[in-house]
Symmetry: C2
Subunit: 278 residues, 2 copies
């Protein structure tokens, strides 16, 4: 599969680059960003996959999180995919809402038309993108996964569905229990249809309940996050982890909100957490 | 003068906030951002003023530079003004160009109508804004100044016109000699008129040539910056500093471009540089 480089900028001795490529999962061109730390010039490095939240592209995390400094120190590549398929002919929310359709792929494989034609972000993130990355860049097959909000849901649910593919998972303000919150219910209903049995396979709490093992998990949540009680519900994750005796560290960060000011304040801890296991 | 708070987010134990206020210099509402480090809850802290480049607002630096982490460690407030007056009735470039008018105030006091009505960014940054900051926030009257590109020109020229007001100055990829480059000539012609004598008082190289003293200066420039040779001309600054025996450290950073990936890679050095003198 061919990659088209659309930008390159040196950062902390390494390189931030953006590429587009035709996606066999999503049947459209997809854009992603990769940060290659200076160590990648001499050896293969492990990869952290970062999944962004609603409305984001590959750019938000790379530009705002302050993560590249630490990735350069630790010798860690970071890959940030877009948050949905895009382009002419890709179905969007009928009203152009921010929480469904473009910019809101929810990291699942849609089964309902018209979304089932392009919205296969789960397959894209789990299979197609890592294959592409491991083919074209100096990386090992060691992977960690992290994300924010919708991307926190993506990271946790993908990790629990693929425990052998990721050595650790972390999240900022994840949508922990999408089948029980307005964002998740709207998305799962639209992408997967009315049968709520089908929703269970993308719900981190439900997946954890039936999992036989786990990977190390770190979650940070701001106490002053406007979405905390109605959408994010971290207590459901804590309960499930406790029930299963799985290794979850959830830190309630006093006074922090849902923004990249919050993420940037604690991203160093997350990268060092993942590096321990890579 | 009254301030209206429009956002607040906790970051690295301190607070990032945005305010608007009626500006007596620019005769319109102005927006600025301030980062108050955790130390500001117990004592007054010194302030770094950051001047952004063409097309930016108060947001680019605060979100992309990765500076807040270091400011929190050093106990330094950061203030980022907008790059021009804005709003209904504020004159813009006739063709809406990115390098003149809105987003391109060049930190000077315009004398040519229609720009002379609102474009007094020099007075705003040197006098009005610090007065406001020192009145409303827990800061000392110790000030440093820095900026990028057009804002690097602003920081250097303002420092040399006000040597007693700033303890140190730094810049990333500054427009060093605006009277001798296309961006500067277009701006100075439009804001100050055809008499090139009037341009001299805002040109860092010319100001340095006639200055009787200096302050510590640190400048970083990317070697792969697309604007290096035609617009930025750091060699003119080096020559002037050498001629006057002024303390300039100019670092040519191999492979870096004009972006915030470059700024974020070296902002820590700049903040530590300023902190030495504050």
């Amino acid at each position: 599969m061919s990659l088209t480089q659309i930008s390159a900028a040196k950062a902390f001795g390494g390189w931030h680059k953006q590429f587009t490529h035709p996606s066999s999962s999503n049947h459209c061109d997809m854009r992603f960003a990769i940060y290659l730390p200076p160590q990648a010039e001499k050896q293969n490095v492990p990869v952290l996959y970062w999944l962004s939240g609603l409305t984001c592209t590959d750019e938000n995390f790379m530009q705002k999180a302050g993560a590249l400094r630490i990735a350069a120190e630790l010798g860690l590549a970071i890959v940030a995919p877009d948050t949905s398929p895009r382009g002419d002919g890709v179905a969007d929310d009928a009203d152009g809402a921010y929480d469904f359709g473009l910019g809101a792929g929810f990291y699942i494989n849609a089964t309902q038309p018209p979304f089932s034609q392009h919205y296969h972000m789960y397959n894209y993130v789990v299979n197609e993108l890592p294959e592409l990355i491991e083919q074209h860049f100096p990386v090992t097959s060691q992977r960690a996964i992290s994300g924010h909000s919708m991307g926190g849901h993506g990271a946790l649910s993908i990790a629990f569905k693929n425990l052998s593919r990721y050595t650790s998972v972390s999240a900022f303000s994840p949508i922990c229990h999408p089948i029980d919150c307005p964002w998740g219910q709207k998305a799962f209903n639209g992408y997967l249809g009315e049968n709520q049995q089908d929703w269970l396979e993308y719900d981190s709490v439900e997946l954890m309940k039936v999992a036989e093992s786990s990977v190390p998990m770190l979650v940070d949540q701001g106490s002053d996050d406007n979405f905390l009680n109605q959408q994010l519900k971290p207590e459901t994750l804590v309960e499930a982890a406790k029930m299963k005796n799985f290794p979850l560290t959830l830190r309630m960060q006093q006074g922090y909100d849902h923004s990249y000011f919050f993420i940037s304040s604690f991203i160093e801890d997350h990268l060092r957490f993942h590096a321990k296991y890579l």
